[in-house]
Symmetry: C2
Subunit: 320 residues, 2 copies
């Protein structure tokens, strides 16, 4: 068995990464979106990194997914009493990583180094890697101008129609040595795009200078899992955004976002009727349960993805 690389953002990506981790342990590397990172009160928030860390450490709240279980909000209430800002309303445990991360960054440690240190202390054997140590920021283009994603999400509550996205800094951002190492693994077995918002979770990773080309060049099967089931986003605003961007809100539409990048696409049984259309574009399709409620679902979907990758490799060998 070889190295598996998962691209992840949001809760969906973290859940699938968790499933892969249960199957592969230290052979998994998760490359995580940092385009939604932000600074607030001098703390360094990396929502997608923390979501993956909590999932893999087994400490995530199973209901929300993005914060540790048993979260409390004492600090936030005191912050408000002292005249601090109202948002973001993050719990006490959720502030630990942003405090340590900001401190580490101020001491000139890289985001990768800090994140791997978190992994070590949390007992996570997989490598959780920021997509870059350099600043990339996803902006949502609206009629009112370009808005940093966290502001769009928090202050604007995802309300203004989305006209497009910008990934500020991505073009100049460097792939880290750690990311290059895992993608250059001799035994690279599969690259998995998690069931996340394609626009602000996966695209920012792909936009880091050289990433898309490297994924293609390496030749390992690239497989994506749909975040859209039955014409709706499982969580988050992917559906709303697709509609506003004038795209069909469907699994097929997500597959088209990854056109020329992916070899295979996993869709839900609810969207079986779209399989042929996707195949017609040269993308192989597997139909499987994609809704992850419990750990069993995560592991099941992870196994589906790994089997899919093996099948693709087998077919290539046959054809060669």
């Amino acid at each position: 068995m070889g190295t598996v690389v998962a691209l992840s953002g949001q809760v969906g990506g973290a859940k699938l990464a968790d499933g892969l981790y249960r199957l592969r342990g230290r052979d998994l590397a998760v490359v995580v979106n940092t385009g939604d990172d932000f600074e607030h009160l001098g703390l360094a928030f990396s929502p997608d990194l923390d979501t993956v860390l909590y999932a893999l450490a087994g400490v995530a709240n199973p209901a929300s997914g993005w914060e540790p279980a048993g979260e409390t909000r004492a600090l936030h209430s005191m912050l408000k009493s002292l005249g601090g800002p109202d948002r973001p309303i993050l719990g006490d445990k959720s502030l630990a990583a942003p405090i340590l991360r900001a401190h580490g960054l101020r001491e000139d440690r890289s985001l990768t180094e800090i994140t791997l240190e978190f992994c070590r202390h949390l007992g996570i054997e997989a490598r959780v890697l920021p997509m870059s140590d350099e600043r990339v920021r996803t902006h949502v283009l609206t009629a009112g101008g370009a808005v940093p994603f966290p502001e769009y999400f928090n202050e604007l509550a995802c309300d203004p129609p989305v006209l497009g996205f910008q990934y500020a800094g991505a073009e100049d951002a460097r792939l880290t040595d750690a990311v290059l190492d895992v993608l250059h693994s001799n035994d690279l077995e599969a690259v998995v795009l998690g069931p996340c918002n394609p626009f602000h979770s996966i695209r920012p990773i792909l936009e880091v200078n050289g990433m898309r080309q490297l994924l293609r060049k390496r030749g390992a099967p690239v497989i994506a899992v749909t975040p859209i089931v039955g014409g709706k986003a499982l969580t988050g605003s992917a559906g709303k955004m697709m509609q506003e961007l004038g795209r069909e809100v469907s699994a097929r539409s997500v597959a088209m976002e990854y056109y020329k990048l992916i070899d295979g696409f996993v869709i839900d049984a609810a969207d079986e009727d779209q399989a042929d259309g996707i195949r017609a574009c040269g993308v192989q399709v597997v139909i499987a349960p994609t809704v992850m409620r419990g750990l069993e679902d995560r592991v099941g979907l992870a196994q589906t993805v790994l089997d899919f990758a093996r099948a693709i490799r087998a077919r290539r060998l046959q054809e060669a």
Copy 2:
């Protein structure tokens, strides 16, 4: 009724300040020791300022006095899981002020400005003022060298014998406009030195360039309250320190620390036998209950101090 200025550090000082506040509201200004301030993980800790703020806002834990009531420690436990340092073990609510303070300081707001903003939001009408906006740091001199007070207190658990104290930066620190304003009030009625450790709570304030001279020059009665009752410190390590410095552990000994500065000294009935000795040094003495268990005790002691000041002023008028 005029302006009352209290000098404060630690819980004892905060409790007396609270008593004075209940009697005088907006006519009280509390000048607070910042010599024990420290930075940790990029947060700005001001233990004595926060203790006063919690006391005056009525949110302090009545048992400990130095942290908000109903404190939890979720953030700290997560911090440890992530490999963060073990100390200081501060609660969730207690981290709010250090986060906001650090952020404010990085934005070039002064410590005074930040603290007054906290007062405003907490509904505190008194002025809580840091002794200086500039950096003063109390160091404990030990056989192993000079140790910053927070390190002496936390890491060394007050263990090494104390050979002396240094107040780094005090000589060059400026009295703030806010402190100068209250001390120059035309109606300055009394200056009160709280029942705190004389070495690392009151002395640092007095060492700020010009403070001691200004207190004398203003002419309002300066009254101190003993932190030593029956030969023991009420809380903290004042007793241990006095012993190690070769001083008698007694109320009289504390009075001598303030020699030539104070006009009056409040001692407990337990130390009645020391009254004459203190008076012999030209310091007037009032014997009163000095142990503050509940709010009633705080207000009672505050009233004793204010009555004492009035009596001193009356006697001066008689003598003039």
